[in-house]
């Protein structure tokens, strides 16, 4: 039994215990007036109702997928292996669900308590909201550490942890895509009818979709984004573990050490996040944004120091330290870089707001162009991190270049606890603002929640950049893990004695690249079309309520909030079935029909376009959103001006870009890479060409 794995398991338990501590602390805070609690209950019930439907669907899917895994691996390897893979898959899905449920549960309690605390000022309100977000961050990291460590302790096989990762990723894909479709359906419909047609302000309780809109913040940004980052977190660790287990020219003890090293990094990251969270404090009159950023910086520094200490005091090669730091620093830098393209006083946003006076077409062209430019610095960051990690590791006599790349991905994601905590803070304060408006709280309270909300938007933008970059490094590591798995399988099958070579001269490889490259655009289109289709249904429902019950607008009658919540839930779940099916089925079809090399090419194509599309969509969407906010804050004519009308169009176009399709692409490419790695031994043995 490796002591580090035990320590990792214990650190996971500590992280979950800390999440439970924060959970209880948040529950103990004042829940506010009867009216505020009533509004919060609507949001809570809507969120729970969606999660219940999502988890029922996921249970069926997970059981079905587990049976398929058990049969395939039972026949290919052994019944015991197949059964274990199936169990770890379900364990992964359950762990991610539990963490998501915890995060959601506290978010729908933390929102009203934040609004109530805002009556006493910024400091108490900020404390409630960041502690609520910390539940999600710490629970996610804790559940992942417990899952990975426990499975490795019991099986001593990284392949089994791969099953756990695949389960978590499947759930993440559905949670992220479903949450993204839900949140933007409600957001767009509420805005188009409420603001544009009827002229009622944001978060006005007369809008029948206002509760669905707030529910969407929770299911999309808390459960969805959390699951998304967790999926990369686990996948990066698993990829590095697989690559560590495949290290050549090392002793058994060294191989074991390098296999569990990713778990050590995750463990140190969880402690660093826990400590870093203590530095997230704001003073009365201060700004929450810098407070959140300081938490990230402290966590990064503490983590780097811990890693350096562990590596210098142990037998681990120092190349692993440089690889870790390359990923860690790049992740933080890329996260803050995305703020440059989406920050509301930055040149790209100001420029887009300025040209909006010339019409919506110019707004779209300008925002889209900046979105395209925003790809470049992130890609350069990813390339630098990858190359540094690769060559530093390659120069080491012990570890390989691809293992270094895997470790850099883990290094980047190791501070996930802090990142997710800051990200979950966003929808909590957004909800708090909505509750303050809907419950008729004082303008001073709304003002405090406004200040909190502005920082939440920045945190969201940083998290998206971080998540996409982390996913990029993760899938690069998974790509290497896939190649390694194929090689191992071929060795066992006596098919080839050479590592897999993907030649661009092979027409099947070219076909694989094209097919893979087409998958992220197809997935994006399907999810965005789902948003427009579902929003159309909800717009009709909102119009119907206003038309048939004029008392709603007069304020004498309460809207039917449940109708919009139910519509958003059922439409979102229906809409994600086909894209989710494609994510798993396409790589397997390519693999079983065309073989391992074309599948590798397929993954390469999907990774390249997936990362580019994800960065473009996330940043262009964020930029359009903030260009509108910039105009609304009193520039280029302010609200009601021609610039405002054009920027509203840009924001509406950008909504499904940044919150539905863009962030889902991370998970898509991770799921496809994991499915390929998991099925690699079977595909190596059975393929048509």
């Amino acid at each position: 039994m490796n002591i580090w794995v035990v320590v990792s398991l214990v650190s996971g338990v500590i992280s979950v215990a800390a999440a439970v501590f924060y959970y209880r602390w948040v529950f103990q805070q004042d829940a506010g007036s009867e009216q505020a609690q009533r509004v919060a209950r609507w949001i809570e019930e809507g969120s729970q109702s969606y999660l219940k439907k999502l988890y029922v669907a996921l249970t069926m899917l997970s059981v079905g997928m587990a049976i398929v895994l058990a049969i395939i691996f039972g026949l290919q390897v052994s019944p015991g292996y197949g059964f274990t893979i199936a169990v770890t898959f379900i364990f992964g899905a359950v762990s991610s669900s539990v963490a998501g449920y915890m995060g959601m549960s506290v978010a729908v309690k933390g929102n009203v308590r934040t609004a109530t605390a805002a009556e006493r000022g910024l400091v108490p309100a900020f404390k409630v909201s960041i502690n609520s977000g910390a539940v999600m961050g710490l629970a996610m990291v804790g559940m992942a550490l417990i899952g990975m460590s426990l499975i490795y302790l019991l099986t001593e096989s990284p392949e089994m942890v791969l099953g756990f990762s695949f389960g978590a990723s499947m759930l993440a894909l559905l949670a992220k895509a479903g949450g993204g479709i839900y949140t933007k359906t409600a957001d767009i419909a509420a805005d188009l009818v409420g603001k544009v047609e009827v002229g009622i302000p944001e978060d006005d309780p007369r809008n029948p979709a206002v509760v669905a809109d707030n529910v969407g913040d929770n299911v999309g940004d808390v459960a969805g984004m959390g699951a998304d980052i967790l999926d990369s977190y686990i996948a990066s660790a698993v990829a590095a573990m697989l690559l560590g287990a495949a290290l050549p020219n090392v002793s058994a003890d060294q191989r074991m050490m390098y296999t569990v090293f990713p778990l050590i990094l995750c463990m140190l990251g969880s402690f660093a996040s826990l400590i870093g969270l203590q530095f997230v404090r704001v003073r009365e009159g201060g700004k929450p944004g810098p407070a959140l950023n300081s938490g990230t910086v402290y966590t990064t520094v503490i983590f780097a120091a811990m890693v350096a200490a562990v590596i210098l005091l142990s037998d681990i090669d120092t190349a692993a330290l440089w690889a870790t730091l390359a990923g860690l620093i790049t992740g933080v830098v890329i996260g803050f870089t995305s703020d440059f393209f989406t920050g509301d006083d930055r040149p790209p946003v100001v420029e887009t707001a300025k040209v909006s006076g010339s019409g919506a077409a110019i707004t779209i062209i300008t925002g889209f162009s900046y979105g395209l430019i925003s790809i470049v610095p992130s890609i350069i960051g990813i390339v630098i991190a990858m190359l540094i990690a690769y060559f530093v590791a390659e120069a080491s006599p012990v570890i390989t270049g691809v293992y270094g790349v895997g470790i850099s991905a883990v290094g980047m994601l190791s501070i996930t606890g802090m990142i997710v905590s800051a990200d979950a803070y966003g929808p909590i304060v957004d909800n708090a603002r909505g509750i303050a408006e809907m419950a008729g709280m004082s303008p001073e309270v709304v003002e405090v929640t406004d200040i909190l909300d502005a920082a939440g938007n920045t945190a969201k933008a940083i998290t998206k950049g971080f998540a996409i970059s982390a996913a990029a490094l993760t899938v690069l590591a998974l790509f290497s893990a896939y190649a390694s798995e194929v090689y191992q399988a071929m060795l066992e099958l006596d098919i080839a004695a050479q590592p897999m070579v993907i030649s661009l001269l092979d027409p099947l490889v070219i076909a694989g690249i094209f097919l893979g490259a087409a998958t992220p655009p197809l997935f994006s289109a399907l999810t965005m079309l789902s948003v427009t289709h579902n929003a159309f249904d909800m717009i009709e429902e909102i119009r119907r309520q206003f038309r048939e019950r004029p008392g709603i607008l007069a304020g004498t009658e309460e809207p039917d909030y449940v109708a919009c919540v139910s519509l958003a839930s059922q439409d979102a779940l229906k809409a994600l079935i086909f894209p989710a099916f494609l994510a798993v089925a396409l790589p397997l079809i390519v693999g079983f029909v065309m073989g391992p090399e074309p599948l590798g090419a397929f993954l390469g194509g999907a990774i390249f376009t997936g990362i580019l599309f994800a960065l473009l969509m996330a940043n262009a969407g964020g930029l359009w959103d903030n260009a509108k906010k910039y105009v609304e804050s009193g520039y280029f004519g302010g609200k009601g001006s021609e610039a405002h009308k054009a920027s509203v169009v840009g924001d509406t176009v950008g909504d499904p870009f940044k919150d539905t399709a863009g962030p889902s692409l991370n998970t898509l490419i991770t799921v496809m890479s994991l499915a390929s790695s998991l099925f690699a031994p079977v595909i190596a043995a059975f393929h048509i060409f």
């Binding site: 004519g637 302010g638 609200k639 009601g640």
Partner: protein
């Protein structure tokens, strides 16, 4: 059957006299958001003394028709006249002004005891009734009324007028290069040119927009709303923004849409 007080309203968008059994606040909500069968939109109206009468306006007949519905609900509106109404109303009959947002939030304004004295500089007026052009002028509000209603220097003359003075922001001091800021006016280059012409040419007023409607965002109101005829001028000041945000938060939010 329930008894309802009968009210007399002078609407500015459109110019109309209306009898109603709804209180001013209820009428404002109804008038702005309507019912499923009616149109919607921003509303500006005065509450009049119900004892006011004019030989050209069939007020008595309107009140006779203003009776509750069969189900006992109050009569919402009986249109008494929709043409040349403002000029026939004695301004002494006006009690309050109501500014209603397009989503039905109502703000009541009392007339000021005195009109503020005119100030130097550039001004922007949105005429509300009886016609609705947007006009830039070097004349202060009182001088503007004097020019249009009392002592016209051109062939243009109105018997009475209701208008709002709008903010010009930095353009008031620097029409050519001043920042537009949060001024949402369409065709801003033309506005700049008009303001520049007022400074450089021997004219005191320039038509900025002859086709616009009387609807404007309340947030751009500079001082308030004026209504005047040959005898009287009334001024309805808009409270400071901070007071509106603090005391009339719902209205202020909707007015800032």
């Amino acid at each position: 059957m329930a008894e309802f007080t009968k009210h007399l309203y002078l609407s500015m968008i459109p110019e109309a006299m209306i009898a109603s059994q709804l209180s001013p606040e209820e009428f404002g909500v109804y008038y702005a958001i309507g019912t499923e069968k009616k149109s919607r939109g921003q509303a500006i109206f005065f509450e009049l003394d119900p004892l006011f009468r004019h030989e050209e306006l069939p007020i008595e007949e309107g009140f006779e028709r203003c009776v509750p519905h069969d189900d006992g609900s109050p009569k919402r509106s009986v249109y008494i006249s929709v043409y040349r109404v403002l000029e026939r109303v004695a301004l002494e009959a006006i009690r309050k002004l109501y500014l209603v947002t397009q989503d039905g939030r109502v703000l009541a304004l009392d007339p000021a005891a005195e009109c503020p004295e005119d100030t130097e500089g550039l001004h922007l007026y949105q005429e509300i009734a009886p016609v609705s052009p947007m006009v830039a002028s070097t004349l202060g509000p009182l001088s503007f009324i004097d020019l249009i209603v009392r002592n016209p220097t051109s062939l243009l003359k109105l018997p009475a007028i209701c208008f709002a003075e709008l903010r010009l922001g930095e353009l008031a001091d620097d029409p050519e290069y001043g920042s537009v800021g949060d001024l949402p006016y369409p065709n801003i280059d033309h506005l700049r040119q008009c303001l520049t012409d007022l400074r450089t040419k021997a004219v005191h007023s320039k038509m900025v927009d002859r086709t616009g409607s009387a609807v404007f965002p309340y947030r751009v109101l500079k001082s308030g709303i004026y209504v005047g005829n040959a005898e009287t001028v009334l001024f309805f000041p808009l409270p400071p923004h901070e007071e509106l945000r603090r005391e009339h938060y719902r209205w202020w939010r909707s007015a800032n849409m």
